[in-house]
Subunit: 239 residues, 2 copies
Amino acid sequence: MSLKNSKIQLQCIACQSRGDSHFSSLKDEDLEILSEHKSCVTYKKNQTLFYEGTRPMGIFCINSGKVKVFKMGSNGKEQILFIAQKGDFLGYRSLLSEELYGSSATVLEPAAICFIPKSDFLKVLHSNPEFFGKLMKAVCHELGVMETKLAQLSQKSVRERLAATILMLKETYGMEGEGSEVIDIVLSREDLANIVGTATETVIRLLSEFKSDKMIALEGKKIKVLDADKLLHEADFYG
Amino acid sequence: MSLKNSKIQLQCIACQSRGDSHFSSLKDEDLEILSEHKSCVTYKKNQTLFYEGTRPMGIFCINSGKVKVFKMGSNGKEQILFIAQKGDFLGYRSLLSEELYGSSATVLEPAAICFIPKSDFLKVLHSNPEFFGKLMKAVCHELGVMETKLAQLSQKSVRERLAATILMLKETYGMEGEGSEVIDIVLSREDLANIVGTATETVIRLLSEFKSDKMIALEGKKIKVLDADKLLHEADFYG
DNA sequence: CGAAAACCATGACAAATGTCATGTTTTCTA
DNA sequence: TAGAAAACATGACATTTGTCATGGTTTTCG
């Protein structure tokens, strides 16, 4: 089950901006408005940006680091919806639907994150139809991605979903490592289980199996993909 | 797991319009543009409006009847994403993200449905910022709804999800019937299973149990809710 | 550093759910 | 309206997955 989504990215004066951003249509004057009242903060691991059920006051723009966005279930178990990273921004969706946050966001690894107040963001948004249009397009795309995740959660086995998740992580965070791919993100087994939508022990067991079958190697928390084709087969992408 | 979503509704000249539509901001001239090239067709049960993987050419506006929107899994099993009814419109999301349809739509009961070509819809949309804004708000809301469904699919048991689904259906399609609520939608057990995300037999068994426990009554395909509180408890809404 | 906490791993078992088989009932349609 | 097809229902059983228990390992932090 793929967590890869078309990340919404925002160029931000003084932040390291990415040239491939979907939001390159922003003019300098708009960027200046966004920068005017923004605050940039460094977060440590496990700090929380916002909590489900609270009122959004602005948007968060991730300059570096990784953030998990999740919903808490009544059993105390998290369901991770996606992992945001450099260039993504968070919290604009609840802002636009004028609702309380529907999910929480917690830092996975040390992060530098800007906060832009609601009013500045909305001002730019409404004065810039092209920007608005691109944002609309991105939200529509994300809705499609979320529907795909829902269907795969319902239709694929845990084993298939874990294989698919490992492949997705490789796509998103893969680094070359002596002929194979090392996944460059520190995820606890519990977090991985909360992405896949299963119990921690089940993930641990399946990882052991994948390792026995030479599909992956485990070096501490790091996962190394040894045989992507075999994983692809496990993920049932051939039907 | 609630399927209730903030339905996006559109007033349509010559169609029976609903006063409570979110899109009452449309002026007559806009409605005229929308009506100009629209075609209204009557569909029978099991006819399909559009197929996953095909290119959207416009939007569908449901005047009467009910339509299931679903994704097909590699095992041939459908996952129903939501059920659209009178006043809803379909297909605008893929249009806006400029992607192929990510799901299919099939008529559940005889329906009258208008089709408005892409160009007319986009013309109105782009000439009417208020309308655009409302649509954006609705899409953002739907994304939140979809995330909630995803989390509940992952975190709740089949039993809990079925109870929640019955309550949702009662909310959406409930009719007064001799002191209790008859759900006015004809869903096969298979469709119900594909909403809940489980096997048909499991749904049948659980319905029998709910019936034994006096929570529901079954009259052919119709489901009657006898004890909503008890169902609510089954759905674990008390945590 | 060193103790405490968190995390990882594995076994044993229970529970939930899916699958297959079979028979009945309802619905469709020629 | 009769026969066929689809849908419903239920039993038996297999499989998957979750839960609990236990012990080893790593990480954290005073």
